[in-house]
Amino acid sequence: MGLSSDVVTLSDLSDRQLQEQLTTDGIVIQTGAFLIHLRSRLAPIFEHIKIFYADYPVYNTDFADFHVRIDHPPGLRRWIKSQVYFYLDERVPFKPLPASQACPMLEWGLNWCIANYAHQYLIIHAAALEKNGCGVLLPALPGSGKSTLTAALMLRGWRLLSDELGIIETESGNLMPLARPVNLKNESINIIRDFSQDAMISPAYKDTNKGTVSLVRANPESVEMASQKVKQCFVIEPKYLPESTANLTPVSRGNMFMHVAENSFNYSVLAKHGYDVMTRLIEGSKCYSFVYSRLEDAVRIFDDLVDAQHAR
């Protein structure tokens, strides 16, 4: 593919090398358990991966789990009300988006690929983080504040595994990292900007079907450890509730099993195997619901929880 054998991370490439690779043969980036072969002629994609994927390993290989391309369609829609398509293996799995949304489209498209094809894993619509060797799975409905909480925990020293996909290795039950950018929506963007000066936040992408979206870069420590699986310790359903007092409430394993299965992309696809994996996951986890309004309180409670677990 033309990459030097000395190249380790994307930031090791010069702008010229990156631009050339991206627009011709493509670049193979490792995100956790997956190799992504990416091509694009779009300047925003170049700028996006240059900053948000700077720390990720790149490889000189023809093999990739997903071959994706983000580009303008042929014809007039390249120029008039400009659109972009997400291509997987040169097929278009979903409708185009306005060109201004190319970068979030890349992130959503990659999530879609994993959720629809990576059936060697059990995949939950959940955030996943780790601290002190304890994996925490945060299954949640949209609007629960999951991604905001995930970004806050990452910015306070937790390892980010994923903000959107809880990936469970079926043999071991361990959580698999992705360590890709965190998606924030609407008010959450300024909340995280105020929460931490260290947050590297993308420009706001407006008028998406999720509202205004920004991406928070995964911290380098999370990316560096993206090959290290984590033992699952806790399953916690977060819920942002204005003016509430942060509170952890135990949830029965039976109820949590059903909640997590309902939030899974492929529990049904895996059939009995999915049931067995989910059973082991829940059996090995302490299960809670969590209500919060202030991020600092949430971080403190999560820290205390894993500290107590670690001290055992």
Binding site: N255, F257, M258, K272, Y275, E283
Partner: protein, 93 residues
Amino acid sequence: MAEYWVKEPELSLHQQQWDDEFVVYNASSGDTHLFDSISIKILSLLESHSMSTDAILSEVNKTQSDELDLFFISELLESMARYGLIKRRCDAV
């Protein structure tokens, strides 16, 4: 006409118990259910023979501290039938 309940034939059920909750996977349908001990008791009762609603109610109440009524058991049996776990059988008297 006498009405009985029977377990669906060739059901393949797998269950995991946590305290008084049972997560049951029906490999025949791919459905997963969260049951309490009463539903599990009913499946156990119908494992090898058919029973009437009254007989099921009588057996279940032997293990209940608060006696259940016919309406409750009837509703529960109907829901288990909708899940494809049991079915109603009517025999001429």
